[in-house]
């Protein structure tokens, strides 16, 4: 390594070790920058792709209030996408480039959105379980080492906890409703529970690449620690409204003071991550289709802006 690169890296790591935030203008190792671009753009894309399964129910929302809440929620997610794209742009990549990477498959999005939303209770389950799992992750990221990312998380977390409560409210209402409504709620629970657990990623023993993420304090808590936190708070919420967690091995561990859970199907996880989930193709086709359909609108806006700039 070149001498000055070593000096930069030492100064950088010293800052990290003192728990100081890294800001866009600060010098940072190239690997740190690339790691953040990968993680933050994936996060931004997840917010945006996540609009699809929920958007699937907008025109069928069963009341004016539920439509209002759902639409506002999805709009929040789009807003999260915007903050995160801007925060990622501070690392020297444009939104357009990030979208290209999404379309080429180089950039990923959260695996959970490759599952379909099949009945109205899925809207409850997504808010409660998916936003619920996201919050656990994001609360931890509020202390991540890159300043713009940490600040985006603080803003986003406030809204996510609303989403989680609203989702839980849908589930609770349906569990108080007719037999059919209860069936819908349990069906949604059965389908979303395991994918929600998978959102935290592989077991710590199987994630060899998180070393740097910890050293750089991008990641501060391990996958298993965060997953456990999610399980412990969510199982009680499920029981409270009469939902069954679809895990026959789930039981309270008196000694450890937490729940033990059954084996996660990592084969399914890997299959979906590698492109063979129920909606991978559909989600990507949708994004590409509407991005392409909007090209002439973006071109027109850019051409008009150029005229205005020349005129002034």
């Amino acid at each position: 390594m070149m001498m000055d690169a070593i000096i930069i890296e030492n100064a950088f790591q010293e800052k990290i070790d003192r728990d100081l935030c890294i800001e866009p203008k600060d010098q940072m190792p190239e690997k740190y920058r690339l790691h953040l671009i990968r993680q933050m753009s994936q996060h931004a894309h997840s917010e945006v792709i996540g609009m699809q399964p929920e958007g699937n129910w907008i025109t069928r929302a069963p009341s004016l209030r539920s439509k209002q809440i759902l639409l506002a929620k999805i709009q929040d997610e789009g807003g999260h996408g915007l903050y995160l794209y801007s925060a990622t742009e501070t690392l020297g990549i444009s939104r357009e480039e990030m979208i290209e990477q999404l379309h080429s498959g180089k950039a990923k999005y959260a695996n959970i959105f490759n599952y379909p939303s099949l009945n109205w209770a899925d809207i409850g389950a997504i808010g409660w379980l998916v936003d619920g799992a996201a919050i656990v992750n994001q609360v931890s990221l509020q202390r991540t080492s890159y300043g713009p990312y940490a600040r985006a998380m603080v803003r986003i977390c406030k809204e996510e906890s609303f989403h989680q409560r609203q989702g839980y409210e849908i589930m609770a209402n349906m569990m108080k409703g007719s037999t059919e409504q209860k069936e819908m709620a349990q069906d949604a629970m059965n389908r979303w529970w395991w994918p929600a657990l998978m959102m935290f990623g592989p077991h710590d023993s199987d994630s060899p690449n998180s070393g740097n993420a910890f050293i750089w304090k991008i990641k501060r808590q391990s996958n298993d620690v965060l997953r456990q936190r999610f399980i412990d708070k969510t199982v009680q919420q499920a029981e409270l409204i009469g939902l069954t967690v679809p895990d026959k091995d789930l039981k309270w561990n008196e000694e450890k003071q937490c729940y033990d859970h059954g084996a996660i199907d990592w084969e399914e996880f890997n299959r979906v991550i590698n492109g063979n989930g129920p909606c991978n193709k559909q989600r990507m086709d949708h994004h590409i289709k509407y991005h392409n359909e909007g090209a002439w609108v973006r071109e027109a806006a850019a051409a008009y802006q150029k005229q205005i700039n020349e005129f002034n």
Partner: protein
């Protein structure tokens, strides 16, 4: 027809316009040409849902049968909806949605400005809130008309096409029914016909500044205000009412 019956129908008309317009705008969710526009269009959709909620809630109170706003929104038959046909026209492309919004927002700007002074306090209150939103909707669609009209030759074509296609659905907004005649004599509603020349002037100004020709077509397609809709309406209701119809005893 009693004044109460007239008011009920008038409120349904205003409420249904908001309800169906919100339906079409909400279809843009995750389909916008750019994320910012996705958010802008769903924002407008949210304003309309709020307005539909207020108007239908008031309609239900006037009807006096103990119905909720949701009951009126989700349980009526097609011929009992009185929205203008223009609101139920498909989402179309972005230019189509923008032109539709310009035509509607211009009318709403003029109408709700008047309704702020309605002798019916509830209507005046709803109008007072609506007018602030309508100003934003109108500005949003005007600015996009400029961009599309003057941006590229292709976008100008798209915009012109949308104006031509939607023109024949604009006249219905100014029709007066017997209810409106009755209510406007009382200072509760307003004479829609009196808004037409101002509407044409405002719309022409925006379109001319966007390098768009004003259609000379004078035939106007109408019917929604009488409950006679386009074929689009049944499909909107099939989707919108699905859960309420499939599980009539459920609350959501």
């Amino acid at each position: 027809m009693t004044q109460q019956e007239a008011l009920y129908k008038y409120l349904l008309r205003l409420g249904d316009n908001a309800l169906i317009q919100s339906y079409r705008l909400s279809e843009w969710c995750s389909r916008g040409p750019i994320l910012e526009e996705d958010l802008a269009l769903t924002n407008i959709a949210l304003d309309y849902i709020g307005r539909a909620q207020n108007l239908l809630q008031y309609a239900a109170a006037i009807e006096g049968k103990g119905h909720s706003a949701d009951h009126l929104a989700y349980r009526r038959a097609e011929h009992q909806y009185y929205n203008n046909l223009i609101t139920e026209m498909p989402r179309g492309d972005f230019a189509y949605t923008i032109v539709k919004q310009l035509f509607i927002s211009t009318f709403e700007f003029l109408l709700y400005t008047e309704l702020c002074h309605s002798k019916d306090e509830a209507i005046a209150g709803i109008a007072g809130k609506a007018i602030k939103e309508v100003r934003y909707h109108w500005t949003h669609s005007r600015d996009w008309c400029y961009r599309l009209g003057k941006g590229t030759a292709f976008s100008n074509d798209k915009l012109q096409q949308a104006v031509n296609d939607l023109w024949m659905y604009t006249g219905e907004q100014f029709e007066m029914g017997a209810e409106e005649e009755m209510l406007s004599a009382e200072g509760i509603a307003f004479d829609n016909k009196a808004l037409q020349s101002k509407w044409l002037e405002m719309v022409s100004t925006v379109l001319t500044a966007s390098n768009i020709q004003i259609p000379t077509e004078s035939y106007m397609q109408t019917g929604g205000r009488k409950g006679v809709h386009t074929e689009n309406m049944g499909h909107i209701l099939a989707e919108m009412q699905y859960l309420q119809r499939a599980y009539p005893d459920a609350t959501w």
